[in-house]
């Protein structure tokens, strides 16, 4: 290789991902998204736009919803990161929101759904039983397949507000 230029300092970032302490070896400005995907192999978190516009990369950082394409890995030092791979039980049981997604048959291509589920989990944690207006405000992730009515009904069903077995 011809790039014998001086290497940029890579300072390891200590963080917790899905309950496990990890050390990420990446340049500090690397977006958390690419560290999760390429360093830790957690590919459930998706790249959609890189400018925090679509939400496909949504994860929780210390319980708050964040778009990981726009969070530098250095900024999660000492924090706790949860991805789609980490919201269910360790025994593989699904989170109630994941189950609601299956019951309402939400995903189509599925690419945005990790982010949608992470956003929904955060919304429900913050509001308990979100109103339609709160769902409108919080669920800003883009879905090109147009699964929005089912996302809405799944959130309502997951919070005991509607029985939505596949019914949009």
């Amino acid at each position: 290789m011809s790039n014998q230029t001086m290497a940029v300092q890579i300072s390891p970032v200590q963080t917790t991902v899905n309950g496990k302490a990890v050390t990420i070896q990446a340049e500090p400005d690397t977006p958390l998204l690419w560290a999760l995907r390429e360093e830790l192999g957690l590919t459930g978190t998706k790249f959609g736009c890189g400018v925090a516009a679509c939400g496909a990369c949504s994860v929780h950082v210390n319980g708050e919803i964040m778009r990981s394409c726009s969070v530098a890995v250095a900024d999660v030092e000492g924090k706790s990161v949860t991805t789609i791979e980490g919201i269910g039980g360790v025994d593989g049981t699904l989170h109630a929101v994941q189950q609601a997604w299956i019951d309402a048959q939400v995903p189509q291509c599925g690419y945005c759904q990790s982010g949608q589920i992470m956003a929904a989990v955060a919304l429900i944690k913050n509001t308990g039983r979100p109103t339609h207006a709160q769902i409108d405000e919080a669920m800003t992730n883009i879905c090109r397949c147009g699964t929005y009515p089912r996302i809405r009904s799944a959130i309502l069903a997951a919070t005991g507000q509607a029985a939505a077995k596949g019914d949009a």
Binding site: M1, N3, T5, V8, A26, E27, T30, P31, W34, E38, G41, L42, T43, G44, T45, K46, F47, G48, C49, G50, V51, A53, C54, A56, I84, E85, G88, L94, Q98, W101, I102, Q105, V106, P107, Q108, C109, G110, Y111, C112, S114, I117, I135, D136, E137, M139, T140, N141, I142, C143, R144, C145, G146, T147, Y148, P149, R150, I151, R152, G166, A168
Partner: protein, 738 residues
């Protein structure tokens, strides 16, 4: 591995017929490019045995390659259609299960390998008449039709074709034929007559003796028997799975992050690449100084292509940084003067050359001009493919809407033979027409990257490159003229439209009009004109159904009643329209400032009417309150999923109508990502969509696309009802509505 000795479902040798318009069906009947037949050296039988060798292991028996039955009763269906959310793989399993009397819980669906043995014969059977002409096809026996289809690299996912073609002509027939072979085998083993046997849940039972045999026990013997493609199919009353709401098989992996898309491929030693293409389509790379990229930590190689530059690095972030550090010089290919405005001016001039019509005696005349912009598919997963070039062979990973053609193009790009390419097909994060191989620039690009380095490399397009270098729905202008007779009915209709291809099939309307004419004025811009969900039906549905509304207004009539008057009594169209109006409460009072719009469009063999209720918000943007759809696709295989497809189609149609446009200035696309190419959000989508199916039992139509075309005109018509302002140019946000 067993193999059936005679096969009249398939043929023994491939046809070398040339000039077949194999993509015709994708546009819903309009003549598109003549893709031609793929000159393959395989005899069909060797292709099929090759396919079986790929998929069939010990204790497994294959039936034509498309299904296999294992000794533990597990039945595997190989789908020639990719899954990108349309749910057809589950629907195909339902169709197979019904004809085969299979145990549902033991059916699994796998993606068919991109191997010629898995060329989609059924698709050819269904659409060959559109491809070569009904006259020719009528003279051919079924085996000849299969033979012609088999010679094509036909593994397309598109044209809303999976269920109505592959299901109807493929898996139902294979299921019935395989069931018959299993019964024959059981009869022979039990030494009884077939008529004394019943099949259910993958078990054949002889009730007189109480003996039974599992499919897993019978499969090996059955696979040695003849399969008869003329085996009687079940009637509607006998279906156990077709028409029932079934949970889609692909969904569980899509809620826990384990579903694997092209972008998720990780290989040992793999590097990641980013790309920058010539900003003006048709431009070439003149020069690039690689040094600034090479100075970035992790960057390993800069690769110059004819019209692009690729940076290969340890990870995507570094590769993209490398791209951003470069200042490549590109030519403009002579296209720097092209703009959306110049295209529109050219197209309007062409349309205006069309003859003017005269007002019917004692009647009225109306002329309106409509415009629709270039549209981007905006699939959520940008192009991403991995490839490894080693010892003259290429291995590639990624999603595509036609794996066989993609494999052929990969081979051509690499300068190697078809047999030297292995393509591992992954899920796709959307497609909507974008991932057809001829428009998938990434195929050639990933090969160039792979040939430049000894290790595997994954090329990922940034969202900016994805938006700027799309293969768009064409920009189209139309001029419509209509004449109302003295009786207030449409006596004459003439449309002039300017776009790349002839949209004769989609330019029609379901109404009875004595004099109807649609004139195509060919116009080719410097952009690649590709497929966008529902293809030409999207813009022509908008033109025609908006104009009918205008004629209703001119006639002083209610838009729904006016449409009724022009539809034949007892027709499927009338039933769909009436049901939509009824479910939407057409005619019931609405608050001031809120309007209701109706539209009906037939596309891909399916009739859909939609009613939208909408208003204009204080900021002048539309607010969609409610949406209703009534659909007649003949028979729904999985109503749960079919409804999802209609919902998705409506939202994509509304999204485009409200805000989406790709515009050109100085030959360059002006949009670059979601902030300036606004895909509809949850808050702006109708909170609930009422979808209702009419099970007419008519010839099966498609479901993935037909929900889309009525959405834009129904919204525009609703806004007219709400505001008195007629939307003739899309998107709506580009004009003041308040």
């Amino acid at each position: 591995m067993a193999d059936n000795p005679t096969l009249d479902i398939e043929a023994a040798t491939p046809s070398k017929r040339k000039g077949v318009k194999r993509r015709m069906f994708l546009a819903g009947g309009a003549a598109i490019i003549g893709g031609g037949l793929f000159a393959m050296g395989y005899a069909d039988r060797s292709a099929r045995s090759g396919a079986m060798a790929l998929t069939t292991g010990k204790g497994e028996s294959s039936f034509l390659g498309w299904i296999k039955i294992a000794s533990d009763d597990v039945i595997t269906l190989y789908s020639p259609h990719i899954d990108f959310g349309q749910g057809s793989q589950t629907a195909l399993a339902q169709m197979l299960a019904d004809e085969l009397d299979a145990e549902w819980t033991k059916i699994i669906v796998e993606q068919a390998p991109s191997h010629m043995g898995f060329a989609n014969v059924a698709l050819g059977r269904a659409f060959l008449s559109e491809m070569v002409g009904a006259g020719i096809i009528g003279a051919l026996p079924t085996s000849m039709i299969s033979l012609a289809a088999r010679a094509m690299p036909l593994q397309v996912t598109g044209g809303s074709s999976a269920v109505r073609a592959t299901g109807q002509y493929g898996f139902r027939v294979i299921g019935a034929a395989t069931r018959a072979a299993l019964l024959d085998e059981a009869a022979s083993r039990l030494d009884v007559s077939v008529s004394e046997l019943t099949a259910n849940n993958s078990i054949v039972t002889h009730s007189k003796s109480g003996k039974s045999l599992r499919y897993g026990e019978l499969a090996e013997g059955a696979a040695q028997r003849n399969l008869n493609s003329e085996t009687k199919l079940k009637s509607r009353e006998e279906y156990k799975f077709i028409g029932k709401p079934v949970a889609r098989m692909d969904i569980p992996t899509k809620v826990n992050g384990t579903a694997q898309y092209g972008i998720d491929i990780m290989l040992p030693g793999m590097r990641t690449a980013a790309i920058m293409m010539a900003p003006v389509r048709g431009g070439k790379l003149q020069s690039v100084d690689a040094a600034p990229a090479m100075a970035i930590n992790g960057v390993e190689k800069v690769v110059s292509l004819d019209d692009a530059v690729i940076v290969i690095a340890k990870g995507y972030w570094q590769a993209n940084k490398g791209i951003l550090a470069l200042s490549p010089k590109f030519t403009d290919g002579g296209n720097a003067k092209i703009s959306s405005a110049s295209i529109l001016a050219d197209q309007m001039k062409l349309n205006n050359a069309g003859a003017k019509i005269a007002a019917p005696a004692g009647g009225k005349l109306l002329m309106s001009e409509f415009q629709t912009p270039f549209l981007h598919q905006a699939m959520m997963e940008p192009f991403a493919m991995a490839a490894h070039f080693k010892d003259g062979k290429l291995e590639a990973w990624g999603g595509t809407q036609d794996p066989l053609t993609a494999r052929k193009m990969l081979a051509e790009a690499a300068g190697i033979g078809f047999d030297d390419v292995t393509l591992h097909v992954t899920l796709m994060g959307g497609g909507f027409g974008r991932r057809f191989p001829p428009y998938s620039q990434i195929l050639g690009q990933v090969v160039a990257a792979a040939k430049a380095v000894p290790y595997p490399v994954k090329l990922i397009w940034s969202r900016e490159e994805d938006v700027k270098h799309g293969a768009y729905r064409p920009q189209v202008a139309a001029r419509l003229q209509g004449g109302l007779g003295k009786d207030g009915k449409i006596a004459k209709w003439a449309s002039d439209y300017s776009q790349n291809d002839d949209a004769a099939a989609e330019g029609t309307v379901p109404y009875t009009i004595p004099e109807f004419e649609a004139r195509h004025h060919p116009y080719i811009s410097n952009q690649v004109n590709a497929y966008w969900r529902s293809v030409n039906a999207s813009q022509h549905g908008f033109f025609n159904e908006s104009f009918v509304d205008e004629l209703a207004h001119l006639a002083g009539e209610d838009p729904y009643q006016f449409r009724r008057k022009h539809l034949p009594a007892g027709s499927r169209h009338l039933a769909v329209l009436d049901t939509a109006a009824k479910r939407a409460g057409w005619g019931s009072p609405l608050p001031a400032g809120t309007g209701r719009g109706i539209a009906i469009v037939e596309s891909f063999g399916t009739i859909v009417a939609e009613v939208i209720e909408a208003t204009i918000k204080e900021d002048g943007t539309p607010k969609i309150l409610r949406a209703f759809a009534v659909v007649d696709c003949g028979t729904t295989v999985n109503p749960l999923n079919a409804a999802a497809q209609i919902e998705g189609g409506i939202i994509m149609g509304l999204s485009a109508a409200v805000g989406e446009a790709i515009t050109l200035d100085s030959g360059t696309v002006q949009q670059s990502s979601f902030p300036d190419y606004p895909v509809m959000s949850l808050a702006d989508a109708p909170p609930v969509i009422d979808v209702h199916f009419i099970e007419s039992g008519a010839k099966m139509g498609g479901i993935g696309e037909p929900g889309l075309p009525p959405a834009a005109p129904a919204l525009a018509n609703a806004l007219f009802a709400a505001t008195g302002k007629r939307v003739r140019n899309l998107p709506i946000l580009a004009q003041a509505m308040a």
